[in-house]
């Protein structure tokens, strides 16, 4: 089936790849940063599980798989293109996109998808390399049904992250001071999504509160599904929550976009 206008978004995707690879030194340094985070968490969890082989109800293999898994999931979900939108609006660069025959949301999504796919491939290679070098015993999920549910939840997580990130960036229509709120958003996301540790090691009250927010659906839920710690019912419930958040944020983003565009002044023109 041919989608009208799909070709131009394919071009945007290709340009996104080329742009990422243009500054390779920067790209490699960026990946090295992620490797440091992965290794830091690996050693902390290894130290905590070295005595009994378990910690906080997790087997060592599960925790290490969680750490290595989030390296790939972070690469797949946390994109930077939607973050750039705030800067573009504040600097007036956004005006250039307005005269382009493309949908800004789709354009940003495809640009981000290009970046994410490239990072995910690299992250997978990093995980395989360090699993080999450190002789890590990773949990390989072989249950096809679980893998299928996991993949759907990852796609939903990617969509949800994008909508959240894009809507926060659009706040730049109202204020020149959008980067501070973005910085705050990024750290709330890192913490509340489970991008550093499984959320259920926190106190039950805090865990329940975080579970009600959209962030936990981005990293924590897919990883729980992959590890087989969420049974089918819990996984479906989690995915229903993902869909509910996406359904909530799609009209919110469109509303912000519509209202924000009326306020846009084209700074620097």
């Amino acid at each position: 089936m041919r989608v009208p206008g799909a070709a131009k978004y394919r071009v945007i995707f290709t340009i996104g790849w080329q742009r990422e690879l243009e500054y390779r030194f920067n790209f490699y340094l960026g990946r090295l940063r992620n490797i440091i985070v992965m290794l830091l968490l690996y050693f902390v969890w290894m130290s905590l599980t070295s005595k009994s082989g378990r910690f906080a109800g997790y087997a060592q293999t599960e925790l290490i798989t969680y750490v290595f898994g989030i390296n790939i999931l972070r690469a797949l979900t946390f994109g930077a293109q939607s973050r750039q939108v705030a800067g573009d609006i504040n600097d007036g660069l956004f005006s250039a996109y307005l005269i382009m025959p493309v949908n800004h949301l789709l354009r940003t999504f495809m640009g981000e998808l290009a970046q994410r796919s490239l990072y995910a491939v690299t992250a997978l290679a990093e995980v395989l390399l360090f699993a080999f070098l450190l002789k890590v015993d990773l949990m390989i999920q072989r249950d096809v049904a679980i893998l299928a549910v996991f993949m759907v939840s990852v796609v939903l997580a990617m969509t949800l992250y994008f909508l959240l990130s894009y809507s926060v960036s659009l706040l730049a229509f109202w204020s020149r001071e959008a980067m501070g709120p973005r910085f705050l958003f990024d750290w709330v996301l890192e913490f509340a999504s489970g991008a550093y540790f499984p959320l259920d090691i926190l106190a039950p009250v805090l865990f329940t509160i975080l579970g009600l927010l959209p962030f936990a659906s981005i990293i924590y839920l897919p990883m729980q599904i992959y590890l087989g710690r969420a049974d089918l019912q819990a996984a479906l419930r989690g995915m229903a929550l993902q869909v509910a958040w996406i359904s909530f944020f799609v009209p919110v983003v469109l509303w912000i976009w519509k209202r924000g565009l009326r306020r846009y002044t084209g700074e620097g023109m």
Binding site: N26, R33, I36, L40, F55
Partner: protein, 267 residues
């Protein structure tokens, strides 16, 4: 000009640059408040993570809860201090890229000093007070209360750590002159610094050696705490002092060499 006059001149310049920074932060109040909230959130998040870990265990790599918290707080102290004082480094790449560094070179001020300290992070200076108070509180909770000698050693090693971090910032600026696309280098250092959030014994001997001798983050962040906990031999203390001086000297030599290689982007 005598040494004292030079120091007075640079203190005056730093004060002027800082008052400009205060004006900038004040005129962007929403941004500043959100950045400060983000920093507090990040700090609280990691503290909460450490405390949560200790609800399942009594020790991490042989250290008790308050000892691990002291490592974390010392990491924050040094990180926040370097952010507050050397924030200008984050704008350095832009200066090189656009050729604005030419104007810096023509000012009657040391270009390295100006490039590092042109943007004092007032938010981080505000953040220093609660961190220092928490460090004092946590030191009081340690199984063995540190004496005046340990506290003095802690302060001296934090200063040595700051000298090392200054050296890393100078190296980063030098690399930027050579390799304009090295934006991520300073961010790479920021990630490497996070190794200091936890006691060094958590990591493998290879990683420990790498981050002690090559990227000396462990000397900068973990040594002060180990001195307080009586787990640092005097030879290591001496080594840290000599290493800090040597590292700064090396970074200044690299900076001089990079200045010779500088070719203005605009000319």
């Amino acid at each position: 000009m005598s040494i004292m006059n030079v120091i007075r001149k640079y203190i005056r310049i730093w004060k002027q640059l800082s008052s400009l920074a205060i004006g900038s932060y004040w005129s962007n109040r929403i941004d500043s408040a959100a950045y400060l909230a983000g920093k507090v959130f990040r700090f609280g998040f990691f503290l909460l993570m450490i405390i949560s870990l200790f609800s399942f265990t009594d020790e991490l790599a042989g250290y008790s809860k308050y000892e691990v918290v002291l490592f974390f707080l010392t990491f924050n102290l040094i990180d926040v201090l370097s952010q507050a004082l050397f924030r200008g480094i984050y704008a350095f790449r832009g200066d090189i890229q656009r050729g604005n560094f030419d104007f810096v070179l023509s000012k009657p001020v040391n270009p390295l000093f100006y490039s590092l300290s042109r943007l004092t992070d007032i938010l981080d200076i505000l953040f220093l007070a609660p961190i220092i108070l928490l460090i004092i509180y946590v030191m009081g909770k340690l199984p063995s209360l540190p004496g005046p000698t340990q506290v003095l050693l802690y302060v001296a090693l934090v200063l040595a750590g700051m000298v090392i971090i200054l050296g890393i910032h100078i190296l980063s600026a030098s690399i930027t002159i050579w390799k304009i696309e090295s934006e991520n280098f300073i961010w790479l250092y920021r990630e490497a610094m996070t190794i200091g959030r936890f006691p060094p014994e958590v990591y493998s001997p290879t990683i420990r050696a790498l981050f002690t001798f090559i990227v000396p983050v462990i000397i900068a962040v973990a040594f002060p705490v180990k001195a307080v906990l009586h787990t640092l031999d005097w030879r290591w203390i001496l080594f840290a002092m000599v290493y800090a001086a040597g590292f700064l000297g090396f970074s200044l030599l690299v900076w001089k060499a990079s200045l010779k290689a500088y070719s203005s982007a605009s000319s």
